[in-house]
Protein backbone atom coordinates (compact mmCIF):
# COMPACT_ATOMS: atom_id res chain seq x y z
CA UNK A 1 0.00 0.00 0.00
CA UNK A 2 1.38 3.39 -0.98
CA UNK A 3 1.87 6.68 0.77
CA UNK A 4 0.89 6.04 4.26
CA UNK A 5 2.59 9.17 5.51
CA UNK A 6 -0.87 10.05 6.73
CA UNK A 7 -0.64 7.14 9.10
CA UNK A 8 3.03 7.49 9.81
CA UNK A 9 3.34 11.12 10.70
CA UNK A 10 0.76 11.27 13.48
CA UNK A 11 2.20 8.04 14.83
CA UNK A 12 5.71 9.38 14.79
CA UNK A 13 4.57 12.67 16.23
CA UNK A 14 2.79 10.89 19.05
CA UNK A 15 5.86 8.84 19.80
CA UNK A 16 8.02 11.92 19.83
CA UNK A 17 5.60 13.99 21.84
CA UNK A 18 5.37 11.33 24.49
CA UNK A 19 9.04 11.64 25.18
CA UNK A 20 9.00 15.40 25.35
CA UNK A 21 7.67 17.72 27.98
CA UNK A 22 4.35 19.11 26.86
CA UNK A 23 3.36 22.67 27.33
CA UNK A 24 -0.06 22.80 28.92
CA UNK A 25 -2.71 24.37 26.76
CA UNK A 26 -4.37 27.42 28.25
CA UNK A 27 -7.53 26.06 29.89
CA UNK A 28 -9.55 29.23 29.52
CA UNK A 29 -12.20 29.73 26.90
CA UNK A 30 -12.42 32.98 25.02
CA UNK A 31 -15.30 35.04 26.32
CA UNK A 32 -17.84 37.19 24.46
CA UNK A 33 -19.00 36.83 20.91
CA UNK A 34 -17.45 37.08 17.45
CA UNK A 35 -18.96 38.37 14.25
CA UNK A 36 -18.64 36.38 11.05
CA UNK A 37 -19.73 37.73 7.68
CA UNK A 38 -21.11 35.29 5.11
CA UNK A 39 -21.63 36.55 1.57
CA UNK A 40 -22.87 34.89 -1.54
CA UNK A 41 -20.59 35.17 -4.57
CA UNK A 42 -21.71 33.10 -7.52
CA UNK A 43 -18.47 33.41 -9.44
CA UNK A 44 -15.08 35.10 -9.54
CA UNK A 45 -16.42 37.71 -11.95
CA UNK A 46 -18.77 39.39 -9.48
CA UNK A 47 -17.67 42.57 -7.68
CA UNK A 48 -15.43 40.95 -5.09
CA UNK A 49 -13.85 44.23 -3.99
CA UNK A 50 -17.20 45.54 -2.76
CA UNK A 51 -17.91 42.31 -0.95
CA UNK A 52 -14.56 42.39 0.83
CA UNK A 53 -14.99 46.08 1.70
CA UNK A 54 -18.40 45.19 3.18
CA UNK A 55 -16.81 42.39 5.16
CA UNK A 56 -14.14 44.71 6.52
CA UNK A 57 -16.70 47.39 7.40
CA UNK A 58 -19.06 44.99 9.13
CA UNK A 59 -16.11 43.61 11.10
CA UNK A 60 -15.20 47.14 12.29
CA UNK A 61 -11.66 46.71 11.06
CA UNK A 62 -9.56 49.87 10.85
CA UNK A 63 -6.54 49.32 8.62
CA UNK A 64 -5.57 52.87 7.68
CA UNK A 65 -1.79 53.22 7.83
CA UNK A 66 -1.40 49.60 8.96
CA UNK A 67 1.03 47.09 7.50
CA UNK A 68 -1.23 44.38 6.11
CA UNK A 69 0.04 41.01 4.89
CA UNK A 70 -2.31 39.14 2.59
CA UNK A 71 -1.60 35.44 2.95
CA UNK A 72 -3.20 33.42 0.14
CA UNK A 73 -3.19 29.63 0.01
CA UNK A 74 -0.79 28.80 -2.80
CA UNK A 75 0.23 25.16 -2.74
CA UNK A 76 0.59 23.51 -6.13
CA UNK A 77 -1.09 23.92 -9.46
CA UNK A 78 -3.31 21.48 -11.29
CA UNK A 79 -5.57 22.60 -14.15
CA UNK A 80 -8.10 19.95 -13.19
CA UNK A 81 -8.90 21.15 -9.71
CA UNK A 82 -9.04 24.17 -7.41
CA UNK A 83 -6.12 24.00 -5.01
CA UNK A 84 -5.18 27.64 -4.55
CA UNK A 85 -6.97 30.78 -3.44
CA UNK A 86 -8.25 32.18 -6.71
CA UNK A 87 -6.20 35.13 -7.90
CA UNK A 88 -9.40 37.17 -8.34
CA UNK A 89 -10.01 37.02 -4.58
CA UNK A 90 -6.40 37.96 -3.80
CA UNK A 91 -6.48 40.86 -6.27
CA UNK A 92 -9.79 42.08 -4.83
CA UNK A 93 -8.44 41.89 -1.27
CA UNK A 94 -5.33 43.81 -2.34
CA UNK A 95 -7.44 46.55 -3.90
CA UNK A 96 -9.83 46.69 -0.94
CA UNK A 97 -7.13 47.06 1.71
CA UNK A 98 -5.16 49.53 -0.40
CA UNK A 99 -8.27 51.65 -0.89
CA UNK A 100 -8.61 51.86 2.90
CA UNK A 101 -5.10 53.26 3.27
CA UNK A 102 -3.23 50.11 4.29
CA UNK A 103 0.32 49.25 3.20
CA UNK A 104 -0.22 45.87 1.61
CA UNK A 105 2.08 43.01 0.71
CA UNK A 106 1.06 39.61 -0.59
CA UNK A 107 3.17 36.88 0.92
CA UNK A 108 3.18 33.10 0.88
CA UNK A 109 5.51 30.18 1.55
CA UNK A 110 4.16 27.12 -0.28
CA UNK A 111 4.46 23.93 1.69
CA UNK A 112 5.56 21.37 -0.86
CA UNK A 113 7.56 23.16 -3.48
CA UNK A 114 10.44 25.57 -3.17
CA UNK A 115 9.66 27.11 -6.56
CA UNK A 116 7.19 29.68 -5.24
CA UNK A 117 7.46 31.91 -8.29
CA UNK A 118 6.81 28.96 -10.59
CA UNK A 119 3.60 28.09 -8.75
CA UNK A 120 2.55 31.75 -8.63
CA UNK A 121 3.02 31.95 -12.38
CA UNK A 122 1.02 28.78 -13.02
CA UNK A 123 -1.77 29.88 -10.69
CA UNK A 124 -2.13 33.15 -12.59
CA UNK A 125 -0.85 35.38 -9.80
CA UNK A 126 1.80 37.10 -11.88
CA UNK A 127 -0.70 37.96 -14.59
CA UNK A 128 -3.59 38.69 -12.24
CA UNK A 129 -1.84 40.87 -9.68
CA UNK A 130 -0.66 44.31 -10.67
CA UNK A 131 3.03 44.88 -9.97
CA UNK A 132 3.32 41.30 -8.74
CA UNK A 133 7.11 41.38 -8.38
CA UNK A 134 7.10 44.44 -6.16
CA UNK A 135 4.25 43.37 -3.86
CA UNK A 136 4.88 39.63 -3.50
CA UNK A 137 7.18 38.17 -0.83
CA UNK A 138 8.33 34.54 -0.86
CA UNK A 139 8.00 33.71 2.85
CA UNK A 140 9.94 30.50 2.36
CA UNK A 141 13.05 32.53 1.69
CA UNK A 142 12.46 35.63 3.76
CA UNK A 143 14.86 36.61 6.55
CA UNK A 144 13.79 35.12 9.86
CA UNK A 145 13.72 35.74 13.61
CA UNK A 146 13.41 33.18 16.39
CA UNK A 147 10.16 33.30 18.37
CA UNK A 148 10.29 31.59 21.75
CA UNK A 149 8.07 28.60 22.56
CA UNK A 150 6.32 26.58 19.91
CA UNK A 151 4.51 23.53 21.24
CA UNK A 152 7.24 21.49 22.97
CA UNK A 153 10.02 23.25 21.07
CA UNK A 154 12.16 25.99 22.53
CA UNK A 155 11.55 28.22 19.53
CA UNK A 156 10.40 28.52 15.97
CA UNK A 157 11.89 30.69 13.22
CA UNK A 158 9.38 32.86 11.44
CA UNK A 159 9.64 35.31 8.52
CA UNK A 160 10.36 38.91 9.37
CA UNK A 161 7.74 40.15 6.91
CA UNK A 162 5.05 38.27 8.82
CA UNK A 163 6.37 39.27 12.24
CA UNK A 164 6.43 42.93 11.20
CA UNK A 165 2.83 42.97 9.93
CA UNK A 166 0.15 44.75 11.95
CA UNK A 167 -2.48 42.46 10.48
CA UNK A 168 -2.28 39.11 8.74
CA UNK A 169 -5.17 38.48 6.40
CA UNK A 170 -5.63 34.78 5.81
CA UNK A 171 -7.01 34.66 2.28
CA UNK A 172 -7.72 30.97 2.44
CA UNK A 173 -9.47 28.36 0.32
CA UNK A 174 -12.43 26.33 1.54
CA UNK A 175 -11.15 22.77 1.30
CA UNK A 176 -11.35 19.41 2.97
CA UNK A 177 -8.01 18.10 4.21
CA UNK A 178 -6.99 14.45 4.38
CA UNK A 179 -5.05 14.89 7.63
CA UNK A 180 -6.80 17.77 9.42
CA UNK A 181 -10.40 17.34 8.22
CA UNK A 182 -10.70 20.84 6.81
CA UNK A 183 -8.21 23.50 5.78
CA UNK A 184 -9.48 27.05 6.11
CA UNK A 185 -8.09 30.30 7.52
CA UNK A 186 -6.20 28.76 10.48
CA UNK A 187 -4.45 25.92 8.66
CA UNK A 188 -3.42 28.44 6.00
CA UNK A 189 -0.86 29.74 8.52
CA UNK A 190 1.40 26.77 7.73
CA UNK A 191 2.56 28.92 4.84
CA UNK A 192 4.06 31.38 7.32
CA UNK A 193 6.71 28.83 8.28
CA UNK A 194 9.89 29.26 6.23
CA UNK A 195 11.04 26.41 4.01
CA UNK A 196 14.59 27.78 4.11
CA UNK A 197 14.72 26.58 7.73
CA UNK A 198 12.20 23.73 7.77
CA UNK A 199 12.29 22.35 4.23
CA UNK A 200 9.72 21.38 1.63
CA UNK A 201 7.49 19.89 2.97
CA UNK A 202 7.64 21.54 6.38
CA UNK A 203 7.90 18.17 8.01
CA UNK A 204 8.76 19.75 11.37
CA UNK A 205 5.09 20.76 11.68
CA UNK A 206 3.90 17.21 11.01
CA UNK A 207 6.23 15.82 13.66
CA UNK A 208 5.13 18.51 16.09
CA UNK A 209 1.54 17.55 15.32
CA UNK A 210 -0.61 19.17 12.64
CA UNK A 211 -3.38 20.26 14.99
CA UNK A 212 -0.97 21.49 17.62
CA UNK A 213 1.01 23.43 15.02
CA UNK A 214 -2.12 25.10 13.65
CA UNK A 215 -3.07 26.21 17.14
CA UNK A 216 0.41 27.46 17.97
CA UNK A 217 0.79 29.49 14.78
CA UNK A 218 -2.57 31.11 15.40
CA UNK A 219 -1.50 31.89 18.97
CA UNK A 220 1.68 33.57 17.73
CA UNK A 221 -0.18 35.63 15.11
CA UNK A 222 -3.33 36.86 16.90
CA UNK A 223 -4.00 39.99 14.84
CA UNK A 224 -5.80 38.55 11.89
CA UNK A 225 -8.63 38.89 9.46
CA UNK A 226 -9.90 35.93 7.48
CA UNK A 227 -11.29 35.88 3.97
CA UNK A 228 -12.19 32.34 2.94
CA UNK A 229 -12.65 31.73 -0.77
CA UNK A 230 -15.53 29.29 -0.93
CA UNK A 231 -16.68 30.41 -4.35
CA UNK A 232 -15.14 27.23 -5.69
CA UNK A 233 -13.71 25.10 -2.91
CA UNK A 234 -12.45 21.54 -2.83
CA UNK A 235 -14.10 18.38 -1.46
CA UNK A 236 -12.98 14.79 -1.04
CA UNK A 237 -9.25 14.10 -0.94
CA UNK A 238 -8.15 17.68 -0.28
CA UNK A 239 -6.09 19.77 -0.02
CA UNK A 240 -4.51 18.87 -3.40
CA UNK A 241 -6.14 15.88 -5.01
CA UNK A 242 -9.76 16.61 -4.25
CA UNK A 243 -12.61 17.66 -6.52
CA UNK A 244 -13.72 21.25 -7.16
CA UNK A 245 -16.87 22.13 -5.24
CA UNK A 246 -18.93 25.19 -6.08
CA UNK A 247 -20.17 26.65 -2.81
CA UNK A 248 -20.62 30.24 -4.07
CA UNK A 249 -19.69 31.83 -0.78
CA UNK A 250 -17.12 34.04 0.93
CA UNK A 251 -16.70 34.00 4.70
CA UNK A 252 -14.93 36.81 6.60
CA UNK A 253 -14.17 37.92 10.13
CA UNK A 254 -11.55 38.91 12.67
CA UNK A 255 -11.83 35.68 14.68
CA UNK A 256 -10.24 32.96 12.56
CA UNK A 257 -11.75 30.22 14.70
CA UNK A 258 -15.25 31.59 14.38
CA UNK A 259 -14.74 31.97 10.63
CA UNK A 260 -13.47 28.40 10.31
CA UNK A 261 -16.26 27.05 12.50
CA UNK A 262 -18.77 28.82 10.27
CA UNK A 263 -17.08 27.47 7.14
CA UNK A 264 -17.29 23.97 8.60
CA UNK A 265 -21.01 24.35 9.21
CA UNK A 266 -21.46 25.56 5.64
CA UNK A 267 -19.49 22.50 4.43
CA UNK A 268 -21.58 20.11 6.52
CA UNK A 269 -18.75 19.45 8.96
CA UNK A 270 -19.16 19.49 12.74
CA UNK A 271 -16.51 22.02 13.88
CA UNK A 272 -16.45 20.52 17.36
CA UNK A 273 -15.00 17.37 15.82
CA UNK A 274 -12.21 19.16 13.98
CA UNK A 275 -9.35 18.68 16.40
CA UNK A 276 -7.63 22.03 16.00
CA UNK A 277 -10.90 23.89 16.50
CA UNK A 278 -11.92 21.79 19.47
CA UNK A 279 -8.48 22.25 21.04
CA UNK A 280 -8.12 26.00 20.69
CA UNK A 281 -11.14 27.55 22.33
CA UNK A 282 -8.89 29.93 24.23
CA UNK A 283 -8.07 31.54 20.87
CA UNK A 284 -11.52 32.05 19.43
CA UNK A 285 -15.10 30.97 19.32
CA UNK A 286 -16.55 27.81 17.83
CA UNK A 287 -19.90 27.69 19.62
CA UNK A 288 -22.63 28.66 17.17
CA UNK A 289 -24.68 30.55 19.74
CA UNK A 290 -21.79 32.93 20.36
CA UNK A 291 -21.09 33.69 16.72
CA UNK A 292 -22.96 36.70 15.39
CA UNK A 293 -23.78 35.65 11.87
CA UNK A 294 -23.89 38.64 9.51
CA UNK A 295 -24.95 38.65 5.89
CA UNK A 296 -26.33 35.32 4.73
CA UNK A 297 -27.54 32.63 7.09
CA UNK A 298 -25.62 29.36 7.13
CA UNK A 299 -28.68 27.46 5.97
CA UNK A 300 -29.00 29.61 2.87
CA UNK A 301 -25.49 28.75 1.65
CA UNK A 302 -24.83 25.34 3.23
CA UNK A 303 -23.70 22.60 0.88
CA UNK A 304 -22.23 19.31 2.03
CA UNK A 305 -18.59 18.76 1.07
CA UNK A 306 -17.72 15.13 0.44
CA UNK A 307 -15.34 13.73 3.07
CA UNK A 308 -12.88 10.88 2.75
CA UNK A 309 -13.96 7.82 4.68
CA UNK A 310 -11.40 8.44 7.44
CA UNK A 311 -13.22 11.69 8.26
CA UNK A 312 -16.80 10.55 7.67
CA UNK A 313 -17.43 10.98 11.39
CA UNK A 314 -16.89 14.75 11.05
CA UNK A 315 -20.05 15.10 9.02
CA UNK A 316 -22.89 17.01 10.66
CA UNK A 317 -25.27 14.50 9.10
CA UNK A 318 -23.31 11.73 10.78
CA UNK A 319 -23.67 13.58 14.11
CA UNK A 320 -27.42 13.93 13.65
CA UNK A 321 -27.75 10.27 12.69
CA UNK A 322 -25.75 9.23 15.73
CA UNK A 323 -27.83 11.32 18.10
CA UNK A 324 -31.07 9.96 16.61
CA UNK A 325 -29.71 6.47 17.01
CA UNK A 326 -28.79 7.18 20.62
CA UNK A 327 -32.17 8.85 21.28
Amino acid sequence: MQATRREFLPLAATALSASCSKKQMEPMIKSGTSAVVVMKAASYSVDLVSKILDGIRISNLDVKGKKVLLKPNLVEFDHNTAINTDVAVVAAAYEAFRSLGAQVVIAEGPGHRRDTMGIAEQAGYRQGLEKFDSVFVDLNRDDVTAVQNFAHHKQIYLPNTALAADLIVSVAKMKTHHWAGATLSMKNFFGLVPGSVYGWPKNFLHFTGIDKSIIELNRIFPKTFAIVDGIIGMEGNGPIQGTPKHAGVMVMGTDNMAVDATCCRIMGIDPNKVAYLAGAQHLGIVEQARIQQRGETIDSVATDFQLIKEFANLSLRHAVAQSMKAG
Binding site: R5, T145, G199, N237
Partner: protein
Protein backbone atom coordinates in the same frame (compact mmCIF):
# COMPACT_ATOMS: atom_id res chain seq x y z
CA UNK B 1 29.58 44.95 -27.35
CA UNK B 2 26.62 43.50 -25.46
CA UNK B 3 27.43 41.79 -22.22
CA UNK B 4 26.81 38.05 -22.38
CA UNK B 5 24.17 36.11 -20.47
CA UNK B 6 26.86 34.68 -18.23
CA UNK B 7 28.65 38.01 -17.81
CA UNK B 8 25.47 39.64 -16.57
CA UNK B 9 25.00 36.92 -14.01
CA UNK B 10 28.55 37.16 -12.76
CA UNK B 11 28.20 40.93 -12.48
CA UNK B 12 24.87 40.58 -10.66
CA UNK B 13 26.35 38.13 -8.17
CA UNK B 14 29.30 40.38 -7.47
CA UNK B 15 26.99 43.36 -7.00
CA UNK B 16 24.68 41.52 -4.62
CA UNK B 17 27.36 40.12 -2.30
CA UNK B 18 26.70 41.35 1.22
CA UNK B 19 29.29 43.19 3.28
CA UNK B 20 29.76 40.09 5.48
CA UNK B 21 30.84 38.18 2.35
CA UNK B 22 27.71 36.11 1.90
CA UNK B 23 24.61 36.31 -0.26
CA UNK B 24 20.95 36.54 0.64
CA UNK B 25 18.18 34.83 -1.28
CA UNK B 26 17.33 38.26 -2.65
CA UNK B 27 19.35 41.44 -3.03
CA UNK B 28 19.64 43.42 0.20
CA UNK B 29 18.60 40.50 2.38
CA UNK B 30 20.73 38.79 5.03
CA UNK B 31 23.21 36.12 4.04
CA UNK B 32 22.14 32.47 3.97
CA UNK B 33 24.26 29.41 3.38
CA UNK B 34 22.36 28.14 0.35
CA UNK B 35 22.68 31.22 -1.92
CA UNK B 36 26.19 31.79 -0.56
CA UNK B 37 27.31 28.26 -1.46
CA UNK B 38 25.78 28.44 -4.95
CA UNK B 39 27.26 31.91 -5.54
CA UNK B 40 30.72 30.81 -4.43
CA UNK B 41 30.43 27.82 -6.75
CA UNK B 42 29.32 30.03 -9.65
CA UNK B 43 32.25 32.37 -8.99
CA UNK B 44 34.76 29.59 -8.24
CA UNK B 45 37.25 31.01 -10.70
CA UNK B 46 37.47 34.03 -8.38
CA UNK B 47 38.74 31.84 -5.51
CA UNK B 48 41.67 33.59 -3.86
CA UNK B 49 40.27 37.07 -4.37
CA UNK B 50 39.37 38.96 -1.16
CA UNK B 51 35.66 38.99 -2.04
CA UNK B 52 35.47 35.24 -2.67
CA UNK B 53 37.53 34.41 0.39
CA UNK B 54 35.29 36.58 2.55
CA UNK B 55 32.29 34.55 1.46
CA UNK B 56 34.16 31.30 2.00
CA UNK B 57 35.25 32.32 5.49
CA UNK B 58 31.72 33.36 6.38
CA UNK B 59 30.38 30.00 5.27
CA UNK B 60 33.07 28.20 7.26
CA UNK B 61 32.20 30.22 10.36
CA UNK B 62 28.67 28.82 10.41
CA UNK B 63 29.72 25.29 11.30
CA UNK B 64 28.46 24.08 14.67
CA UNK B 65 30.45 22.10 17.21
CA UNK B 66 28.65 18.90 16.16
CA UNK B 67 29.85 19.29 12.57
CA UNK B 68 26.57 20.46 11.06
CA UNK B 69 26.26 23.79 9.35
CA UNK B 70 23.57 26.26 10.31
CA UNK B 71 21.65 27.78 7.40
CA UNK B 72 22.34 31.37 8.44
CA UNK B 73 23.72 33.51 11.23
CA UNK B 74 20.22 33.86 12.70
CA UNK B 75 19.37 30.15 12.80
CA UNK B 76 21.09 27.95 15.38
CA UNK B 77 20.00 24.54 14.15
CA UNK B 78 21.92 21.99 12.12
CA UNK B 79 20.57 21.79 8.61
CA UNK B 80 20.54 19.89 5.31
CA UNK B 81 22.68 22.61 3.72
CA UNK B 82 25.63 21.01 5.50
CA UNK B 83 25.75 18.95 2.29
CA UNK B 84 26.37 22.09 0.23
CA UNK B 85 29.16 23.15 2.57
CA UNK B 86 30.82 19.74 2.28
CA UNK B 87 30.54 19.80 -1.52
CA UNK B 88 32.13 23.23 -1.60
CA UNK B 89 34.98 22.02 0.63
CA UNK B 90 35.63 19.24 -1.88
CA UNK B 91 35.64 21.64 -4.81
CA UNK B 92 37.98 23.94 -2.88
CA UNK B 93 40.15 21.00 -1.89
CA UNK B 94 39.80 21.93 1.78
CA UNK B 95 40.02 18.47 3.31
CA UNK B 96 40.56 19.65 6.87
CA UNK B 97 38.94 18.95 10.21
CA UNK B 98 35.89 21.07 9.39
CA UNK B 99 35.35 19.03 6.24
CA UNK B 100 35.66 15.76 8.17
CA UNK B 101 33.28 16.88 10.89
CA UNK B 102 30.77 17.85 8.22
CA UNK B 103 31.06 14.46 6.55
CA UNK B 104 30.66 12.70 9.90
CA UNK B 105 27.50 14.68 10.61
CA UNK B 106 26.05 13.71 7.25
CA UNK B 107 26.91 10.07 7.83
CA UNK B 108 25.14 10.18 11.18
CA UNK B 109 22.06 11.94 9.82
CA UNK B 110 19.06 10.05 8.49
CA UNK B 111 15.31 10.26 8.25
CA UNK B 112 13.36 9.78 11.45
CA UNK B 113 11.36 6.95 9.85
CA UNK B 114 14.38 4.68 10.15
CA UNK B 115 14.74 5.21 13.90
CA UNK B 116 13.99 2.38 16.28
CA UNK B 117 10.70 3.71 17.68
CA UNK B 118 9.25 4.07 14.21
CA UNK B 119 10.61 0.75 13.02
CA UNK B 120 8.93 -0.92 15.99
CA UNK B 121 5.68 0.87 15.17
CA UNK B 122 5.99 -0.30 11.59
CA UNK B 123 6.66 -3.86 12.70
CA UNK B 124 3.63 -3.85 15.00
CA UNK B 125 1.47 -2.56 12.17
CA UNK B 126 2.93 -5.08 9.79
CA UNK B 127 3.95 -2.51 7.24
CA UNK B 128 6.32 0.30 6.50
CA UNK B 129 5.03 3.45 8.15
CA UNK B 130 5.77 5.58 5.13
CA UNK B 131 4.86 3.05 2.51
CA UNK B 132 8.55 3.08 1.67
CA UNK B 133 11.16 0.47 2.31
CA UNK B 134 13.01 1.17 5.55
CA UNK B 135 16.05 -0.68 4.27
CA UNK B 136 17.03 2.50 2.50
CA UNK B 137 18.13 5.59 4.37
CA UNK B 138 17.80 9.07 3.02
CA UNK B 139 18.42 12.45 4.60
CA UNK B 140 15.99 14.88 6.26
CA UNK B 141 15.77 18.64 5.88
CA UNK B 142 16.66 18.95 9.55
CA UNK B 143 17.17 16.57 12.45
CA UNK B 144 14.21 14.67 13.88
CA UNK B 145 12.14 14.71 10.69
CA UNK B 146 11.66 12.24 7.84
CA UNK B 147 13.86 11.91 4.77
CA UNK B 148 12.98 13.60 1.48
CA UNK B 149 14.31 13.63 -2.06
CA UNK B 150 16.03 17.01 -2.14
CA UNK B 151 18.21 16.80 1.00
CA UNK B 152 19.04 13.22 0.07
CA UNK B 153 20.18 14.28 -3.40
CA UNK B 154 22.40 17.04 -2.00
CA UNK B 155 23.89 14.68 0.58
CA UNK B 156 24.67 12.14 -2.14
CA UNK B 157 26.48 14.77 -4.22
CA UNK B 158 28.51 15.75 -1.14
CA UNK B 159 29.40 12.22 -0.08
CA UNK B 160 30.32 11.14 -3.61
CA UNK B 161 32.61 14.14 -3.90
CA UNK B 162 34.07 13.36 -0.47
CA UNK B 163 34.46 9.63 -1.07
CA UNK B 164 38.11 9.64 -2.22
CA UNK B 165 39.10 11.31 1.07
CA UNK B 166 37.19 9.05 3.45
CA UNK B 167 38.22 5.52 4.30
CA UNK B 168 35.92 2.79 5.60
CA UNK B 169 32.69 1.27 4.38
CA UNK B 170 30.19 3.57 6.05
CA UNK B 171 30.29 6.31 3.44
CA UNK B 172 29.90 3.89 0.54
CA UNK B 173 27.09 2.12 2.38
CA UNK B 174 25.21 5.39 2.93
CA UNK B 175 25.56 6.22 -0.75
CA UNK B 176 24.03 2.89 -1.72
CA UNK B 177 21.21 3.31 0.80
CA UNK B 178 20.56 6.90 -0.21
CA UNK B 179 20.46 6.06 -3.90
CA UNK B 180 18.14 3.18 -3.12
CA UNK B 181 15.80 5.52 -1.29
CA UNK B 182 15.64 7.92 -4.25
CA UNK B 183 15.22 5.17 -6.82
CA UNK B 184 12.36 3.57 -4.93
CA UNK B 185 10.44 6.80 -4.68
CA UNK B 186 10.43 7.58 -8.38
CA UNK B 187 7.05 8.67 -9.73
CA UNK B 188 5.37 6.66 -12.48
CA UNK B 189 6.09 9.46 -14.97
CA UNK B 190 9.84 8.84 -14.51
CA UNK B 191 10.72 11.87 -12.38
CA UNK B 192 10.49 12.70 -8.71
CA UNK B 193 8.06 14.41 -6.42
CA UNK B 194 9.34 15.83 -3.12
CA UNK B 195 9.18 12.48 -1.45
CA UNK B 196 6.29 10.19 -2.24
CA UNK B 197 5.30 8.67 -5.53
CA UNK B 198 1.67 8.51 -4.41
CA UNK B 199 -0.63 9.76 -1.67
CA UNK B 200 -3.64 7.82 -0.42
CA UNK B 201 -3.19 5.46 -3.34
CA UNK B 202 -3.25 8.21 -5.98
CA UNK B 203 -0.16 8.76 -8.13
CA UNK B 204 1.61 12.07 -7.70
CA UNK B 205 3.28 13.90 -10.57
CA UNK B 206 6.97 14.67 -10.56
CA UNK B 207 8.24 18.23 -10.18
CA UNK B 208 10.94 19.90 -12.27
CA UNK B 209 13.17 20.93 -9.37
CA UNK B 210 13.09 17.63 -7.50
CA UNK B 211 13.55 15.62 -10.69
CA UNK B 212 16.61 17.72 -11.52
CA UNK B 213 18.12 17.34 -8.06
CA UNK B 214 17.42 13.61 -7.85
CA UNK B 215 19.32 13.14 -11.10
CA UNK B 216 22.23 15.16 -9.71
CA UNK B 217 22.30 12.89 -6.67
CA UNK B 218 22.24 9.74 -8.78
CA UNK B 219 25.26 10.65 -10.90
CA UNK B 220 27.67 7.77 -11.22
CA UNK B 221 25.09 5.08 -10.53
CA UNK B 222 25.72 2.58 -13.28
CA UNK B 223 23.04 0.09 -12.25
CA UNK B 224 19.91 2.19 -12.30
CA UNK B 225 17.92 2.68 -15.47
CA UNK B 226 17.86 6.46 -15.58
CA UNK B 227 16.75 6.84 -19.19
CA UNK B 228 13.08 7.52 -18.32
CA UNK B 229 14.13 10.04 -15.68
CA UNK B 230 16.37 11.89 -18.12
CA UNK B 231 13.56 11.81 -20.68
CA UNK B 232 11.23 13.27 -18.08
CA UNK B 233 13.75 16.01 -17.30
CA UNK B 234 14.02 16.80 -21.02
CA UNK B 235 10.26 16.95 -21.37
CA UNK B 236 9.94 19.26 -18.39
CA UNK B 237 12.78 21.44 -19.68
CA UNK B 238 11.02 21.89 -23.01
CA UNK B 239 7.79 23.00 -21.33
CA UNK B 240 7.28 26.53 -19.99
CA UNK B 241 9.01 26.65 -16.61
CA UNK B 242 10.10 29.20 -14.04
CA UNK B 243 13.74 30.38 -14.14
CA UNK B 244 14.46 28.21 -11.08
CA UNK B 245 13.03 25.06 -12.63
CA UNK B 246 14.64 25.74 -15.99
CA UNK B 247 18.12 26.34 -14.59
CA UNK B 248 18.04 23.28 -12.29
CA UNK B 249 16.83 21.04 -15.11
CA UNK B 250 19.54 22.37 -17.39
CA UNK B 251 22.18 21.75 -14.73
CA UNK B 252 21.08 18.16 -14.22
CA UNK B 253 20.92 17.45 -17.94
CA UNK B 254 24.38 18.95 -18.42
CA UNK B 255 25.97 16.60 -15.92
CA UNK B 256 24.49 13.71 -17.91
CA UNK B 257 26.25 14.97 -21.01
CA UNK B 258 23.47 16.87 -22.73
CA UNK B 259 24.40 19.96 -24.74
CA UNK B 260 22.61 23.28 -24.88
CA UNK B 261 23.01 26.28 -27.17
CA UNK B 262 24.51 29.41 -25.68
CA UNK B 263 21.89 31.49 -23.86
CA UNK B 264 20.84 34.77 -25.46
CA UNK B 265 21.80 37.83 -23.40
CA UNK B 266 19.16 38.69 -20.80
CA UNK B 267 19.20 40.41 -17.44
CA UNK B 268 19.46 38.46 -14.22
CA UNK B 269 16.32 38.40 -12.10
CA UNK B 270 16.06 39.52 -8.48
CA UNK B 271 16.41 35.98 -7.15
CA UNK B 272 20.08 35.58 -6.23
CA UNK B 273 19.92 31.80 -5.84
CA UNK B 274 18.43 31.43 -9.32
CA UNK B 275 21.04 33.79 -10.76
CA UNK B 276 23.79 31.63 -9.28
CA UNK B 277 22.28 28.41 -10.65
CA UNK B 278 21.85 30.03 -14.06
CA UNK B 279 25.53 30.99 -13.99
CA UNK B 280 26.61 27.49 -12.93
CA UNK B 281 24.57 25.91 -15.71
CA UNK B 282 25.85 28.30 -18.38
CA UNK B 283 29.57 28.57 -17.80
CA UNK B 284 30.50 25.24 -19.36
CA UNK B 285 33.23 24.74 -16.78
CA UNK B 286 31.34 24.80 -13.48
CA UNK B 287 28.83 21.95 -13.71
CA UNK B 288 31.62 19.32 -14.03
CA UNK B 289 32.66 20.32 -10.51
CA UNK B 290 29.48 18.68 -9.24
CA UNK B 291 30.37 15.35 -10.78
CA UNK B 292 31.75 12.70 -8.48
CA UNK B 293 35.25 11.38 -9.10
CA UNK B 294 35.27 8.76 -11.80
CA UNK B 295 32.34 10.22 -13.71
CA UNK B 296 33.52 11.89 -16.89
Amino acid sequence: MRESYLGRRFRHLKQTQNSDGGWGYFEGKRSWLEPTAYSLLALHEEAGTPAWEKGWNLLRSWQRDDGAWRPSEQVEDGHWSTALAVTLHCIRGAYDSQFRKGVDWLLDSSGEETRLVNRIAAYLKGESPTGHSLEFRGWPWRPETASWIEPTAHSLVALKKAAPQISGHLLKRRIVLGEGMILRRRCDDGGWNYGSKAALGIDLPSYPETTALALLGLQGNRDAELGPAIDRAHKLYNEPQSPMAKSLLKLSLLVYGNKFPEEKPSDAGRDVLVTAIEAISSSGTTHPLLRPVGVA
